[in-house]
């Protein structure tokens, strides 16, 4: 393995498991007869529905309007009739209000409002296209992109980084995008740079993806302001703060945001979505999803309409070869385990992993031996063993003093722990509790 120049301290090396899908070209997934589009797909307030049961909708029509600034509209991913607006299972947990649409199979679209010559659009116009197209972070967290593109006036941004690390095992959706349509990524990056008035764009890609590096480098060859850098392969290289540090050696302050060090980070998939929104007038109603794992018959990279259920996606991949023991939305390090396949793909669904019993098996935890491996691998320099202990004892003051809130929940500590202790899990519990306490004390 070549040792890349750009890296961070800590981290782990989980098996890549990308061989299932890395050479699978992106295919169009069958569009289902019924789509279920959640009105809440990320943090922030849910959207207000703009349609009602019985309404006819077109492909790409806005059907949900966010109530606050931190929000993004949602669009119909098919043309057809709204069957109902009801609470449905969500892949991010619990039930959320969703628009259920019967597909008429015609894909009758709204007239795309193509803005003509992109070069003549000013940053404000570009940003409003990003907002109206419902663009969110495609890496998984699905944070509304227009918010990231609206730094306060006192935060001077000088660098835009695109995240092409894709450090989660199994996932290859960014990888295929970088190989198949790198020009969309470069185009999207240029739009982001124009919106932010920045002349320094950097795309970071892990060095275990030489084909992607080559492809994106070739597409960026003519761009003076865009640099493509090879990152040392290590999890969590795609974590925002670690990525910024690896590339710029700037450290996002504890509790701060990338904009505090003059950087805005977006996923390569987000850049491509921005490019499509601006050049084709296409809102975010479909995304690339890696479908992988030992229990799925034909692992694939698919372009899936938002609202297609996991079951429909898996059926398109030839179904199952054996009873799955676990189904994950996202990657195996940070993804969310599902209790049913009856959940829809949303804007943040980077992968659907269908794991066999053997793949999903988790060893029993035993006593901590204080080996310190969790401290060694923590990219934030936390002491997961002490944090976890504090949390398990219910001592939230101690957990807070040990910087629980700085945890990025990458899971490296739990992954490496030889005693198989639920380290990151108990830290997440502490974070929730601390946040709840802060809210309580702020309101009292």
């Amino acid at each position: 393995m070549t040792k890349g120049l750009f890296t961070f301290s800590g981290g782990v090396h989980p098996p890549h498991s990308k061989h299932f899908t890395e050479d699978q070209k992106i295919e169009l997934c069958r569009v289902p007869d019924v789509v279920v589009i959640p009105l809440q797909q990320h943090i922030g307030a849910p959207c207000e529905p703009l349609v009602k049961s019985g309404d006819t909708v077109k492909l790409g029509q806005k059907i949900g309007q966010p109530k606050g600034f931190v929000g993004a509209p949602v669009h119909s991913s098919v043309s057809g009739v709204v069957k109902s607006i009801e609470m449905c299972n969500s892949s991010v947990g619990g039930k959320v209000l969703s628009v259920v649409i019967q597909n008429d199979g015609t894909d009758t679209g709204v007239e795309p409002d193509i803005p003509g010559n992109i070069d003549q659009l000013d940053p404000a116009q570009l940003k409003s296209i990003v907002l109206e197209a419902g663009i969110v972070g495609m890496g998984g967290a699905a944070f509304p992109t227009h918010v990231k593109l609206s730094p306060p006036a006192d935060k001077k941004i000088d660098t835009v980084i695109l995240n092409g690390a894709e450090c989660e095992p199994y996932l290859t959706s960014d990888y295929r995008l970088m190989i198949e349509t790198p020009e969309q990524i470069i185009g999207g990056l240029k739009i982001i740079m124009k919106i932010l008035g920045v002349s320094n764009g950097i795309i970071g890609i892990e060095d275990n993806k030489p084909k992607a590096l080559q492809s994106v480098r070739r597409a960026a060859a003519e761009e003076k302001n865009i640099k493509v850098v090879s990152l040392r392969t290590k999890y969590p290289q795609g974590a925002e703060k670690q990525l910024i540090y690896a590339i710029t050696k700037r450290m996002v302050p504890s509790g701060g945001l990338p904009m505090d060090v003059g950087v805005v980070v977006n996923n390569v998939g987000t850049a491509a979505a921005i490019h499509k929104a601006v050049t084709l007038g296409e809102p975010l109603y479909q995304r690339i999803v890696t479908v992988s794992g030992g229990a799925v018959k034909e692992p694939k990279n698919l372009l899936v309409r938002i609202g297609t259920t996991f079951k429909d996606v898996i059926d398109f991949c030839g179904g199952l070869v054996e009873e799955p023991a676990k189904v994950i939305s996202g990657g195996p390090m940070m993804g969310i385990a599902q209790h049913t396949l009856d959940v829809p793909v949303v804007k943040g669904t980077s992968g659907i992993l269908v794991l066999t019993k053997k793949e999903a098996e988790l060893p029993e935890p035993s006593a901590c031996i204080r080996c310190g491996k969790c401290v060694e691998v923590c990219p934030i320099n936390l002491m997961p063993l002490h944090l976890s202990n504090a949390s398990l004892k219910g001592n939230m003051e101690e957990a807070e003093a040990l910087h629980a809130m700085d945890c990025i929940e990458c899971g490296s500590c739990s992954f490496i722990c030889p005693a198989k202790r639920p380290l990151v899990h108990s830290i997440k519990v502490a974070k929730k509790e601390i946040t709840a306490r802060r809210k309580r004390s702020a309101s009292s």
């Binding site: 540090y245 996002v252 969310i336 999903a360 031996i369 401290v375 722990c417 030889p418």
Partner: protein
Amino acid sequence: MSMLTVTSAPHIRSKDSVSRIMLDVVLALIPAGLFSVYLYGTRAFLTIILGVASAVLTEALIQKLTKKPVTITDFSAVVTGLLLAYNLPPSAPWWLPVIGSFVAIALVKHVFGGLGNNFMNPALAARAILLAAWPVQMTSWVIPNADAVSSATPLAILKGAEGTLPSLRDTFIGNIGGTIGEVSAAALLLGAAYLLYRKVITWHIPVTYIATTFVLVTLLGGKGLETGIYHIFTGGLILGAFYMATDYSSSPITAKGKLIMGVGCGILTAVIRLYGGYPEGVSYSILLMNVAAPLIDKYTVPRVFGEVKQHA
């Protein structure tokens, strides 16, 4: 469709395990044990077997009595039993390893909460107790191939006891008097290399420990470089530095803390060897630093990523 498992991320784990780590330590200790059996014969073998058996049985018994899951398959009791036996002289009576391992497991390990909670190295603390209770049996040394003649160890000779100092080569290979496990520096270093390769231990404690001892003994001892080298290969320094001071539960967690631990052990060992009543001092140095480990941990908490230094 059958039930899907729902757990919190991450959904995959590394192959490392506690038993694999402990097994690695056992494997690393085997060359030194074999050498000792070759050197001292069945007596050493018996002591090792009794030490291990007593440790494992004690652990099983305590866990049965306290109705806790029996964890003898994690090899941690085997490691403690081995280390205890390695700290005994080859002439030790049969009951010495039995009592020693019982004390190590029952008093030092389980009274304080079991694996990961002992604040001292169990084998070393037990050795200190044995040394106080049965000083004669604990310090009767045999010269290899010389029919159980009691003799002074090289360090005792360096300190003024009667006897001829063995050659440096013999000290390195292990043709000298000493405890069962400490005798062959070469065999111990072989195992240590394996532990470093397997990342069971890091270099921080052993290297700083040995280097500090060497430098101080050479500089303050005033007997030259060669005496300094003798000090490295004798008196259990290699065994202590690589296998005992690195005990996870009783040493600091962070790299910085480990460096302090190593230097501290080195200073104490040099002081005891040069100015103290004992010829060696590795055990007491490590035990003293074990007690200091929580304090070291407290002052070596790593700076959190992006933490801004507070200005008062």
